[in-house]
């Protein structure tokens, strides 16, 4: 059963990824991205990371991609990019080499670590208790972990979000009188 799920999900993921990279129209690319994200959510579920699967769908597929589409539509930049032309002749071969190299090296590392012994991890007591609870243990354990062991990181990320919002509002608004605007260099 798990195998079947894996295969299907992999197909979705890879198909979506290839779509993002290969489709010339940005809206098509965005939709392929949704497919990928959904596939990943499925895999999360199969690995019993239920909460993350939910967050993946809500945040990534639901918010981020929507944001992408908003921007595309807002700016009207949904022109299809001509993929046949590549101004830098060297770019595509280098990309191929880099991609292949990365895959090979990481793959080698992964394969080499198959026999690696699993390190023993001692969780905090709260997490262990939560893990032993049969009902929704995942989210409980995760919550216990985030809010007790990593609560500082949690607070900081919330600050980060505020900063991000403020920054974007400033960046994206129309320039008003009194704003310091740098003239783009005329080419």
């Amino acid at each position: 059963m798990e195998l079947f799920v894996f295969v299907v999900a992999s197909a979705m993921i890879l198909g979506g990824a290839l779509g993002v990279v290969l489709r010339s129209h940005p809206v098509h690319a965005a939709l392929s991205l949704v497919l990928t994200l959904f596939g990943i959510a499925v895999l999360f579920v199969s690995m019993e990371a239920h909460f993350l699967a939910a967050v993946q769908v809500i945040v990534y597929a639901g918010a981020i991609v929507v944001l992408f589409l908003f921007v595309i539509m807002l700016l009207g930049v949904d022109n299809a990019e001509d993929l046949r032309v590549e101004p830098f002749k060297v770019q595509r071969p280098v990309a191929a080499v880099v991609g292949a190299g990365l895959l090979t090296m990481i793959g080698l590392a992964i394969i080499a670590s198959r026999k690696a012994p699993v390190p023993v991890v001692t969780q905090s007591q709260a997490v262990q208790d939560a893990l032993l609870d049969p009902h929704d243990s995942n989210i409980k354990a995760l919550a216990r972990d985030v809010f007790s062991d990593h609560v500082l990181a949690f607070e900081l990320t919330s600050v980060l979000l505020v900063i991000a919002v403020v920054a974007t509002v400033m960046l994206a608004r129309k320039p008003r009188k009194g704003d310091f605007v740098v003239e783009a260099a005329t080419k």
């Binding site: 830098f88 770019q91 280098v94 880099v98 990481i106 080698l108």
Partner: protein, 651 residues
């Protein structure tokens, strides 16, 4: 008195500076008398120092006076400006200042009326200063200072009348040829410093004396030093192959020829070789043979050329080259005392001959061709008388000075090798011959000048009546008389050890110079010693034969003169050098200049171009394009991974 050694070069230097500032105001003739007084005062100081040195014992006759530290080298080493007062340097100083002051006095009369009168004495005083630095230096660097100084003054004085193209060229030729020799001296200095860590003569000679002992000089190094010094000496003292500047140097005024090119500067090379005689004596045997051989060959060569010269000064110039060859023959045979002896006597009679010829030229209104002279002894009696004394001295007729010194050299040459002796003897024969020829052509025979000027009379030039050679003024004649006297008695300083000579008078110079040359002096073998009387008689016979032959040819006209053109052209040597330098030499120099501009400069510029070029290429990496940067980052990551996985072996 010994502490006043520094005054000896300082006085001419003061003269130089005063004339530099006030020369034009002093003018003719005060500037000349002032300069002569300076050199004369220097002579008096020298005599004082000499007497002081005489009063000491032989071992103590070595006084070094250090003025200041010239080149500090660290580690308590330094090259000082120091003067060495010992028998050799004092001997040189005596005749340099003595004859120098006589010639200064002579020049007052000779240069009278010249537009640049004071400048002449400016240069003469500078020359005197340089020459005295040369001989008084206690280390090679002070000597080199003087060496270069006399070379410069020689250039300045030869081309004194620089409006004449030939004079300017001669000056340049002298300087450049000297420079080639200077290279040799510099190499010797480098070797010396490398071998013994100092340029001091005492250090060098001491190291040479302890050759074979730890800290001593290696034989190969000594040979190198000696031969390089000899190259320097060849340039300065006009030996083959670097002699060719000396005949051309006759373009300078006659006092210059007398002072620089007869008595003083050209002897600097001999002085240097005698100064380093321990080094020379511990060198490989072939070094001595080279020096003696070159000296003998030069002597014979120059004597053959002098036979065919018609300019009164050119004869004397080649004669100087020839006599210098004798001195080097002596040096090569280990007879340092004989070399110095001949240097001293040669200074006397050659200066006398040059000054006499200057008097003749002055009296003949600057005519120098001997074929236009003749029968001048009536009109210029003192000049003729002194010139004849000089002639007898150089020809080697006893009891004049030249006989004694030349005989001593021939004796040592015979001891070294009979071939060298024969060459020396042949040279002596030719010397007697050409000098007699000169005397006959100038002072005896037909008065050619009368005919030459009768023709001119028709053109409105000086008529025969107006043009009469006359005796020179007193300032010019007095030095001639003094030098003639010295040429007569000069032999007394080194009389050989013959039975009929009182023992106290024998070998005085040798005794005086012994502390300096005792290590290197080659002792005469018993066989040669026994033959010395016979050899002397042979020398006298040869001299008389030469004189007789010349009288036959030129006075009695019994035989035809042998003056082939090839001799007049100095065996074509000068032309060969010019052709070489103009042709292949020029190409070589152009090649070197090209190499400098393209290879050396090219390398430097090339590095700059390389940096620029590579920077220009590397700059292309900064395309400003995000995708290119991403590609670069990706490539870097892959390389890192390769290193970790493959090289570090995470596999």
């Amino acid at each position: 008195m010994l502490d006043l050694v520094w005054l000896i070069p300082a006085l001419p230097l003061a003269g130089f500076l005063c004339i530099l500032l006030f020369g034009r105001k002093l003018g003719d003739p005060k500037a000349g008398y002032f300069a002569s007084a300076m050199v004369g005062a220097s002579f008096l100081v020298t005599v004082g120092v000499f007497l002081d040195l005489l009063s000491k014992t032989a071992e103590e006759r070595h006084h070094v006076q250090t003025l200041f530290q010239w080149v500090p080298l660290g580690n308590s080493f330094s090259i000082d400006l120091a003067f060495l007062a010992d028998p050799l340097s004092l001997t040189m100083c005596l005749f340099v200042t003595g004859i120098g002051s006589l010639i200064h006095l002579y020049a007052v009369g000779y240069m009278h009326g010249d537009s640049r009168f004071s400048k002449f004495f400016l240069y003469l005083n500078l020359f005197a200063f340089s020459m005295l630095m040369l001989v008084l230096g206690s280390n090679m660097l002070v000597t080199f200072l003087g060496w270069e100084g006399v070379g410069t003054c020689s250039y300045l004085l030869i081309s004194f009348w620089h409006e004449r193209e030939s004079a300017a060229t001669a000056g340049k030729k002298a300087f450049v040829t000297n420079r080639v020799g200077d290279w040799g001296f510099m190499m010797a200095m480098f070797f010396t410093f490398w071998a013994v860590g100092s340029l001091d003569y005492s250090v060098l000679n001491h190291a040479a004396e302890s050759v074979g002992v730890a800290g001593g000089l290696a034989q190969s190094t000594a040979t190198a030093i000696a031969l390089f010094c000899f190259i320097g000496a060849c340039g300065k003292s006009a030996q083959l192959p670097l002699y060719l500047w000396l005949p051309d140097a006759m373009e300078g005024p006659t006092p210059v020829s007398a002072l620089i090119h007869a008595a003083t500067m050209v002897t600097a090379g001999v002085y240097l070789m005698v100064r380093i005689n321990p080094v020379l004596s511990v060198s490989s045997g072939y070094a001595g043979w080279i020096i003696a051989g070159v000296g003998a060959a030069t002597a014979l060569y120059a004597a053959t050329v002098a036979v065919a010269q018609n300019d009164i000064k050119k004869v004397l110039a080649y004669s100087t080259v020839s006599q210098l060859g004798y001195m080097f023959l002596a040096v090569g045979s280990g007879a340092y005392v004989a070399a110095i002896f001949h240097m001293v006597t040669h200074a006397f009679f050659k200066a006398l001959l040059f000054l006499g010829s200057g008097s003749v030229i002055h009296g003949m209104h600057h005519e120098q061709d001997m074929r236009k002279m003749g029968a001048l002894r009536v009109l210029m009696p003192i000049t003729a008388g002194t010139f004849i004394i000089g002639w007898l001295a150089i020809a080697g007729v006893p009891p004049f000075a030249g006989f004694w010194s030349k005989d001593e050299i021939l004796l040592f040459a015979y001891d070294k090798s009979p071939i060298l002796y024969v060459v020396g003897l042949a040279t002596a024969l030719l010397t007697a011959y050409y000098m007699t020829r000169q005397v006959i052509m100038v002072f005896f025979g037909k008065a050619e000048w009368k005919d030459a000027h009768e023709e001119h009379g028709a053109h409105g030039d000086l008529t025969a009546r107006d043009f009469t050679p006359h005796e020179s003024p007193r300032t010019m004649v007095a030095p001639l008389v003094v030098l003639a006297g010295l040429s007569i008695v000069g032999g007394l300083i080194q009389l050989p050890s013959w039975g009929w000579i009182p023992h106290g008078l024998q070998h005085k110079l040798e005794g005086w110079l012994e502390p300096v040359v005792e290590f290197g002096e080659h002792p005469l073998s018993a066989g040669a010693h026994d033959l010395s009387g016979i050899l002397a008689l042979v020398a006298i016979a040869i001299a008389l034969a030469g004189i007789a032959a010349a009288i036959m040819v030129y006075a009695k006209h019994k035989a035809k003169p042998i003056e082939p053109q090839i001799l007049a052209d100095a065996w074509g040597y000068d032309r060969a050098v010019s052709n070489f330098m103009g042709g292949p030499g020029r190409k070589a120099f152009d090649g070197v200049a090209w190499a400098d501009a393209h290879v050396v400069d090219g390398a430097v510029n090339g590095v700059g171009e390389l940096v620029r070029g590579s920077a220009g290429q590397v700059r292309k990496l900064q395309s400003g394009n995000v995708r290119n940067y991403a590609a670069a980052v990706g490539a870097g990551v892959v390389l890192l991974l390769v290193w970790f996985v493959v090289v570090r072996g995470i596999l």
